[in-house]
């Protein structure tokens, strides 16, 4: 892998680290499998890119992009909580609706940002080459995001949210308003994913209506890789391992694609990801079945 390719991998890895944190919040903390992220990643990018092209300050645009994505999360939560639509289905509905909304926001399938000012622009004349600067910038964003998420999970409010995902009845008996925590959790999760989309659009120079496809699987892959690295109960370590998992996942994929004798093409990445996630989900079960079998064998 060339240095340039490696830096690109790191950059994408850090950006999707934010996605992984969002996915961790829904899948693991709230026990709410949320597929909205496929749409909200694009929404964050689309809103940000469109506003930047309109001449709005890139930082404000990014904030608005992430907020729009957070609202998408609220819609999913509302469909689920208010109307009892199954969480997966509610998120698929929002995701599908977002596909149209993203096209409407941009007014065309993609928006180019190559010549526009971005969040990065102020840092590009500091003397550090742009390809390094981009990585440093997204790394700082991901790490600050991670610290904030970890801090949040350690607070009274965050702990209450974790209780909701773990045992709703107990949470309620302790005066925790369950629905409110689900709303806030989904908004936060999708806000992080929208922020990742906004960063992606600005570092890569475009927003595209199809850029969000597979976001959920990539995020989940990063969470699972991260979890397999450290067996810990520390929220800080878990959240940071989302970022690390995302980077390792990206490196693994790019190595697989760059190793000629394997014969993979760039378009194979989705299959690779799906197989990787499936294996990671299946492995713990197979292992426990194998152990149970072995234990039975010893008894006889």
């Amino acid at each position: 892998m060339s240095l340039y390719a490696f830096l690109g991998t790191l950059e994408i890895g850090f950006i999707y680290g934010l996605v992984a944190m969002g996915v961790y919040l829904t899948f693991r903390i709230l026990d709410f499998p949320d597929l909205t992220v496929d749409g909200s990643f694009t929404l964050g990018a689309a809103v940000t890119a469109t506003l930047i092209v309109m001449g709005i300050n890139p930082y404000l645009s990014t904030l608005l992009g992430a907020s729009a994505a957070a609202c998408a999360g609220l819609v999913t939560a509302w469909l689920n909580l208010r109307f009892n639509i199954l969480h997966l289905l509610a998120s698929i509905l929002t995701m599908t609706a977002l596909y149209t909304i993203n096209l409407r926001v941009m007014g065309k399938p993609n928006v180019a940002l190559i010549m526009e000012p971005t969040m990065l622009t102020p840092f590009l004349n500091l003397g550090i080459p742009a390809m390094y600067m981009k990585v440093i910038f997204v790394a700082v964003c991901a790490i600050i995001g991670g610290l904030l998420v970890a801090w949040f999970l350690y607070t009274q409010y965050g702990l209450a949210m974790r209780a909701v995902g773990s045992n709703k009845r107990m949470a309620q008996a302790n005066g925790i308003v369950v629905n409110e925590k689900v709303y806030v959790g989904l908004a936060l999760s999708n806000g992080l994913v929208g922020l990742a989309g906004a960063l992606f659009a600005q570092t890569n120079g475009f927003a595209d209506s199809t850029m969000g496809i597979g976001t959920i699987v990539v995020g989940l892959a990063a969470v699972i890789v991260g979890e397999s690295l450290f067996a810990t109960r520390s929220m800080l370590v878990i959240v940071m391992s989302c970022i690390l998992g995302s980077i390792l996942y990206r490196i693994a994929v790019s190595m697989a694609l760059n190793t000629d004798f394997l014969g993979f093409q760039a378009s194979d990445v989705n299959l690779l990801t799906a197989v990787l996630v499936a294996l990671a989900l299946v492995f713990p079960k197979l292992r426990s079945e194998y152990k149970a079998k072995k234990a039975r064998g010893q008894e006889i």
Binding site: F152, Y154, T155, Q156, Y157, G158, L159, A160, R162, A163, G165, S166, N167, R169, M170, A171, Q172, A173, N174, G175, I176, V177, V178, R233
Partner: protein, 267 residues
Amino acid sequence: MIRCDNLHVTFNHGLPTEKLALRGIDLTIPTGQFVTVIGSNGAGKSTLLNTIAGDIETTRGRIFFGDRDVTNLPATGRTKDIARVFQDPLAGTCGNLTVEENMALAYGRGQRGTLAFALNNKLRKVFKEQLSRLNLGLEDRLDAQMGLLSGGQRQSVSLLMSALQPSSILLLDEHTAALDPKTAALIMDISSQIIEEKKLTVMMVTHSMRQALDHGSRTIMLHEGKIIFDLEGVERSKYEVKDLLNLFAHSRNDGEELDDDKLLLDS
């Protein structure tokens, strides 16, 4: 004080499976009284407790805490006044969280969670002190995951958790039923201590007639959603388990044999 006025609860209203779980409960429990609630399966004991806690909506009738009408207050709004321990040891605690995190949640019961850290060393000291009352060695396992503790240990912690915040009412729903006899005795002991200490108003549902007579100062029996008798004071002290069983058999008013093994437990 808890007051129930003509409390009715109907499940599946208007359907073939309609069930009249409570049919006109009139009950006043003065502040500081410890009431034990008995009755066969399906008599409405748990429904009564869950209705008072706010988990179940009342179909008719009103509930008061003191002078306050709480009939329309949701469960989360009543947690300022009510602490609960469930029958299932897994229900009262979060298996994914650590012992100290669970206790921190209970410590914040009925208050709005803020963005302050949920745990700090001052709290850990309080939790340690409380846990050491149990003599289970849990005071050294504050950061252990709750799911790794045994059912008895989890139930003990739930009990302590219920007393971390001042509350006036404690609802115990067969909280020793799922435990081995020794642990059950320990839990009952600690419950009595806490109740004494905090001068709580208590309702304890139990399947054990022995437990019902040995604890508290009043016993009520439910049958088919109604209170069929209410024993207090001197009269209650004359009662033995076999008298209760007789009464119970009468309540079925057909002289049918008791088929509920659980009722005979400990008797």
